[in-house]
């Protein structure tokens, strides 16, 4: 091999080594960057190639750009080997190109080059670089990924799940799939965090990955329910389970019996629809002559959309015992379907339901949402007054036994009074007055007849003075007796005076069977009759007419009331020992003495207050009472299930306080404060019950003051 070939071969070797060195440098740097990304940012798997590639590309470019020239080789040889006499470059020339001296020197240098060992100036760099790259690769493998609370399937452990062994058991990945009910229209969510926030009815699927196989994994919920996760792979490192979120709460991840921290489940409830009837009013009367139509306007709201809605109506026809009911409805589901907010306007034509005068319509609007929750509006009442009722005789004719036929008289008196008023201009004054007086007499007779039901047997009384002639004749006509009773011979007759001012009936029911309310109304009727009679007697039929109408109305009301009837029942009483009556002997009577003692169980408020006081005293440096705190913790736990977002951190703080107390360590002030605030949130204000005043009962000063005051002679 000639010297020139040796030099060219050396150039190729050196160039290859230098290129490999540059590539290895780039790979090493890339591996170092990857190790940093893994350790500091938690990058995993394929992502780690990114920094390697980022470093490799410039290195490759740099490597390809590297060119080793023959001149570099000869220079290096000349510097490294004096034996070559700085003439190695001559070997690259053609042997017959120069002079004799040139050829001699070329030959001499060629033979010298044959004798030397080929130099490897870049070999050491190459080895070092490759070794460094290998070291960087080892570092990449060795460095642990950063622990993330949900950073993808390969995120690091959830605190508290690891055991003391190395490496600790950790949840390496979390995937929570939340599928809201379809009707909500909400998309499915995949999250890598354990706290869950969703809507009611959502299906939650947990997929948890551990860094090493575990035997058992389950979720412990606040309501003591347990969701046992099933292994999703053969290596027992991936576990999966599903649950429906119906109510808020919190849960813990239990891995091989090692429960982790608490995580909230916040559930936004699906509220039932809200239905409000804007019009008509709660009670509406359709006046006579007005069309039988009602404008209905209603607002219907739901948080996710309505499914159906209908107007349900009940029509009551007839009166008294003859009332009949029938139901009607209008379905307007098609209008509200899938709508969240609907304003429904509808003109309700009552004729379509054959409503007539005197009928009543009750209606409400009912709406249902996707969850099957329904809500109703308030009931609206629409009345169609019966204008013919007042003057009808139906009620009067179908009266009870106690209603005599002269109930008609009041109506007759009204008709005749109206006729009298109409005829006023065509009659003489005397005739007018006589007719008016006659009607007054009729009114009096009617009043007296009704007065019989009140036990009034005298026209001079309206429920007041009673005549005590115990004949109780049906006609009750005792006018002629009055003069006789006022005889002067009776002057000083004590019995007569007593009989005048006392009531000698032995029962207080005034010989009637009416209840107090009926009697009161009867009495009011009689008062109106009396007023009507008064006006008729003084020839003022126009003024009498309102009283007559009022009396008639009261009578008709009375008629309606009388339909309610409750039969009397007999009462058995203990037979009286008549020998003891009036003796005044009370020796055998034992004065009753009763005792009562209120016992109250410990209430939740007391337990919470005790726990709170305990925490406050712990904050002041006193030792705590674990028993009291445990009772309070039970209450706080129950409350935290309902409001996990606000109360769960406080509950956890209370647990930490209890944990510290159990270890006889000092609880953190922040935990004490948070736990106190959590308990305080549950504690209602104490009821304001009467208590003795706080000023001292009797101080020497007040005693002396009173003494001095008493000594003053006013």
């Amino acid at each position: 091999m000639s010297g020139g070939e040796i030099i060219r071969r050396l150039r190729r070797h050196w160039q290859t080594e230098r290129r490999i060195t540059r590539l290895a440098t780039g790979i090493g740097v890339g591996l170092l960057l990857a190790a940093m990304a893994k350790g500091l940012a938690g990058w995993q798997d394929g992502w780690l190639l990114l920094p390697v590639l980022v470093a490799l590309v410039p290195a490759l470019y740099w490597s390809l750009r590297q060119k080793t020239s023959l001149r570099e080789v000869t220079d290096h040889l000349d510097q490294a080997y004096p034996l070559l006499e700085d003439s190695s470059s001559l070997l690259l020339e053609q042997p017959d190109a120069g002079s004799l001296l040139f050829r001699l020197q070329q030959q001499k240098t060629g033979s010298a080059l044959q004798q030397i060992e080929w130099p490897k100036p870049y070999r050491e760099n190459l080895l070092l670089t490759v070794a460094s790259a290998a070291l960087a690769f080892c570092l990449l493998l060795a460095v642990p990924a950063k622990q993330l609370a949900g950073g993808g399937d390969n995120v690091a452990a959830v605190p508290g799940t690891g055991s003391a062994t190395s490496p600790p058991l950790q949840i390496a990945g979390v995937k929570v799939l939340i599928q809201a009910p379809a009707y909500t229209g909400l998309p499915a969510i995949v999250q890598t965090q354990l706290p869950v926030q969703t809507v009611q009815g959502a299906a939650i699927q947990w997929t948890l990955q551990t860094n090493k196989p575990v035997q058992k994994m389950q979720l412990l919920f606040n309501d003591s329910s347990v969701l046992v996760l099933r292994p999703a792979d053969s290596s027992f490192t991936q576990w999966r389970g599903e649950k429906k979120a119906e109510k808020p709460g919190f849960y813990r991840v239990d891995t091989d019996g090692l429960p982790a921290d608490f995580y909230t489940i916040e559930v936004k409830p699906d509220l039932p629809p809200v239905v409000n009837i804007i019009s008509p009013e709660g009670q509406t009367n359709i006046e006579a002559g007005m069309p039988f139509r009602v404008a209905v306007r209603a607002l219907l709201n739901d948080d996710y959309g309505l499914v159906s809605a209908r107007l349900a109506a009940t029509i009551a026809s007839g009166s008294g015992e003859a009332v009949k009911f029938r139901n009607e409805s209008i379905d307007f589901s098609s209008i509200v379907r899938r709508q969240k907010r609907v304003s429904w306007n509808h003109l309700l034509d009552l004729n379509q339901w054959q409503l007539k005068g005197g009928d009543e319509l009750y209606f409400y609007i009912e709406a249902t949402d996707d969850r099957g929750q329904s809500a109703r509006s308030d009931v609206c009442i629409v009345r169609l007054p019966d204008t013919t009722e007042l003057l009808s005789l139906d009620g009067l004719l179908s009266a009870m036994d106690i209603k005599p036929e002269f109930f008609r008289s009041q109506r007759q008196i009204i008709i005749e009074t109206e006729q009298l008023i109409r005829d006023r201009n065509t009659m003489s004054v005397e005739a007018f007055n006589a007719k008016s007086n006659e009607l007054g007499g009729e009114q009096k007779l009617l009043r007296l007849r009704y007065g019989k039901f009140l036990g009034e047997e005298d026209e001079t009384q309206i429920g007041g003075h009673h005549d005590h002639d115990h004949g109780h004749d049906d006609d009750h006509d005792h006018d002629e007796d009055e003069a006789a009773r006022n005889d002067a011979a009776d002057f000083g007759n004590a019995e007569k005076i007593l009989s005048e001012v006392t009531h000698q009936h032995d029962i207080a029911e005034d010989a009637t069977f009416f209840d107090a309310e009926t009697k009161k109304q009867l009495k009011a009727t009689l008062t109106e009759m009396w007023n009507a009679e008064l006006k008729l007697r003084v020839y003022q039929p126009v003024q009498a007419l309102p009283y007559e109408y009022k009396a008639l109305r009261l009578l008709k009301d009375l008629q309606q009331q009388s339909r309610v009837y409750v039969a009397k029942t007999g009462v058995k009483t203990t037979p009286l020992d008549l020998t003891k009556r009036g003796s005044g002997d009370q020796d055998k009577i034992i004065a009753p003495r009763l005792g009562y003692r209120q016992t109250t169980a410990t209430t939740a408020e007391q337990e919470i207050a005790a726990g709170l006081m305990n925490l406050r005293s712990m904050a002041d440096g006193d030792p705590g009472d674990l028993g009291k705190l445990q009772k309070a913790a039970v209450r706080l736990s129950a409350a935290a299930a309902g409001k996990p977002a606000s109360l769960l951190p406080r509950y956890q703080a209370l647990l930490r306080v209890m944990d510290a107390l159990g270890k006889q360590a000092r609880a953190a002030p922040a935990d004490l404060e948070a736990a106190s605030n959590g308990l305080a949130e549950l504690l209602p204000a104490a009821p304001g019950l009467p208590s003795p005043a706080l000023s001292p009962a009797a101080t020497p000063l007040s005693k002396e003051y009173l003494k001095q005051l008493s000594a003053i002679d006013y």
Binding site: L594, T600, M613, A685, G688, S691, L694, P696
Partner: protein
């Protein structure tokens, strides 16, 4: 040289000069004897004066000015003030001024909020000029009951000066929970009132927070000692059970109150009920039995029918023992007597489906309940006890309606007003905001009859300087110096204003200005002359002879 040395020397020299005097008196030559004696004593005086030169008082001219800087001094005001004065005006803090007692300060200029009245009195300056700053903004006044019973409401009244252009919300907070709040409009100087319930017995710390938008302007502690709720012991005597009494008895018994009830069945027969207490014979209660109760509930007619002896017993128990009486006055108050003096019922009024009376006359009594028809309940003092007259006898209607809140509130007021007091002897600071590191006047009212001082017998007053803030052993709270600063500053300003007004009017005692005269000795030459001139005279006079 001590103070007594001149007197010792004088005592020693007196016999010597006495002997000289005797010698002069007995000298054979009688001429100018008296003059020589006088000269001798002048020599003596001169000698003593040389040894102990007497001092004379000299009035030192004043007219100097000084500046006293207290908390809240406005820098700008001070700078402006100093530009008007010559340089070198001394500046003092309060304690510095008290310690140094500068003699040449004739006019003392005080800057800042001023001083408490006692501190003003200790200043020695003939003329005091207070350069009052503007009133500080914030919570300028606040007051509340420091002790409450469990179930009572904490009511905090105060005043807020809002000098911002945004509204400020005042929040009363307990354990991080806002109990009540009130908005103070921008630029307003207004009173406020917030309240909160009590939750548990013990030391409670509420906080009054002033918040403007999201910034917390102030957070002041509102310490309250909540005492456990105590049950009143009640005796109810009535001729017959009625709706009102039955509902009341049931309610009190359910709430666990010790309650003895006696209804009259016949002339000799009574129905007795004992709720939450041990039964005992309840015939005609005597003094000892009445002493077991805090309140007697009865009606005037039953009380009158109980007999004179019973009435006397009750009177003694009320006036001396503090027992309360609650009269359920339905129709009449009975004959005028000690228990119904000044009380007069109205004629029956018909309203709201019933007939009832109101209290038409209540001389010397305090109105407890009033409605549209008139006064329904009054409270009258009788010795150490109280008597309540109540004509509202249909409060059970609230119970029937399910309105227990109003029922509870109504009877809480009536029963508490009449019942015997049961508070503990009180130990509390006299200052509204006692502060650690400052003087605190602690007032204690013991329940023993020990006479501690003559000004306020049975009251112990102690001045203390306490270093640790927070709850103190007596159940009261010591604030940090940084707490309630604005309110305390305003209070100090008010005290300063009052004191200086009194000071200007000359109606206030304070420490007199220090003596402005100084003692100065005459020159020794004078005493030498006094010594030598008579001595020379004596010598010369002898030589002349």
């Amino acid at each position: 040289m001590t103070v007594i040395t001149p007197y010792i020397i004088l005592l020693l020299l007196c016999p010597l000069f006495g002997w000289f005097s005797w010698y002069e008196w007995k000298r054979p030559k009688k001429k100018r004897r008296m003059v020589r004696l006088a000269a001798l004593w002048l020599v003596f005086a001169g000698f003593m004066a040389l040894l102990f030169p007497p001092q004379v008082r000299e009035v030192k001219p004043r007219g100097g000015q000084g500046v006293l800087i207290t908390d809240g001094a406005d820098k700008k005001m001070l700078q402006e003030f100093f530009t008007t004065l010559p340089a070198g005006i001394p500046t003092y803090s309060y304690w510095q001024y008290r310690y140094e007692q500068p003699q040449d300060v004739d006019t003392l200029h005080v800057f800042g909020y001023g001083l408490p009245a006692d501190d003003w009195r200790s200043l020695a300056a003939p003329v005091i000029q207070w350069h009052a700053p503007a009133s500080p903004a914030g919570i300028t006044y606040a007051d509340w009951e420091r002790q409450l019973r469990l179930g009572d409401r904490l009511r905090l009244y105060g005043h807020y000066l809002n000098n911002r252009n945004k509204p400020v919300v005042l929040k009363l907070v307990w354990q991080g929970i806002v109990q009540d709040s009130m908005a103070v409009p921008a630029g307003a100087d207004t009173g406020f009132h917030v309240s909160a319930g009590t939750y548990y017995a013990g030391a409670n710390s509420y906080y009054l927070e002033a918040v403007s938008e999201d910034s917390l302007l102030a957070r002041e502690p509102v310490p309250v000692q909540v005492l456990p709720a105590e049950k009143l012991r009640i005796l109810l005597l009535a001729d017959a059970p009625g709706f009102e009494t039955s509902f009341l008895v049931n309610w009190l018994a359910r709430e666990g109150y010790p309650l003895a009830v006696r209804y009259k069945l016949s002339r000799l027969q009574f129905s007795q009920s004992f709720m939450n207490m041990e039964p005992f014979p309840l015939g005609q209660p005597g003094l000892a039995q009445l002493d077991k109760f805090d309140l007697l509930i009865t009606d005037p007619l039953s009380f009158a029918a109980a007999g004179a002896a019973f009435q006397r017993t009750v009177k003694e128990q009320v006036e001396q023992g503090g027992l309360g009486i609650l009269f359920q006055a339905d129709s009449s108050l009975g004959a005028a007597s000690w228990h119904n003096r000044g009380i007069r019922l109205s004629l029956p009024v018909s309203a709201q489906g019933g007939r009832y009376r109101t209290i038409a006359g209540f001389d010397g009594a305090r109105v407890l309940q009033q409605d549209s028809s008139g006064v329904r309940a009054v409270l009258q003092r009788a010795g150490r006890g109280y008597i309540v007259f109540n004509t509202k006898l249909n409060s059970y209607g609230w119970q029937l309606e399910g309105n227990t809140r109003d029922y509870q509130r109504f009877w809480k007021q009536l029963l508490e007003a009449g019942a015997r007091n049961a508070g503990e002897p009180l130990t509390a600071p006299a200052e509204p905001f006692p502060v650690a590191g400052e003087q605190v006047t602690i007032v204690h009212r013991p329940d023993t009859g020990t006479v501690v001082n003559t000004t306020f017998p049975w009251v112990q007053i102690t001045a203390a300087w306490l270093s640790s803030s927070g709850w103190q052993p007596g159940g009261w709270y010591l604030f940090n110096p940084g707490e309630w600063k604005t309110a305390r500053a305003v209070q100090t300003m008010e005290q300063s204003r009052v004191f200086l007004a009194q000071y200007a009017a000359g109606s206030v005692n304070r420490l007199a200005p220090a003596d402005t005269q100084e003692h100065r000795s005459l020159h020794r030459a004078w005493w030498l002359l006094l010594f030598f001139l008579p001595a020379i005279f004596l010598w010369m006079e002898k030589k002349l002879d």
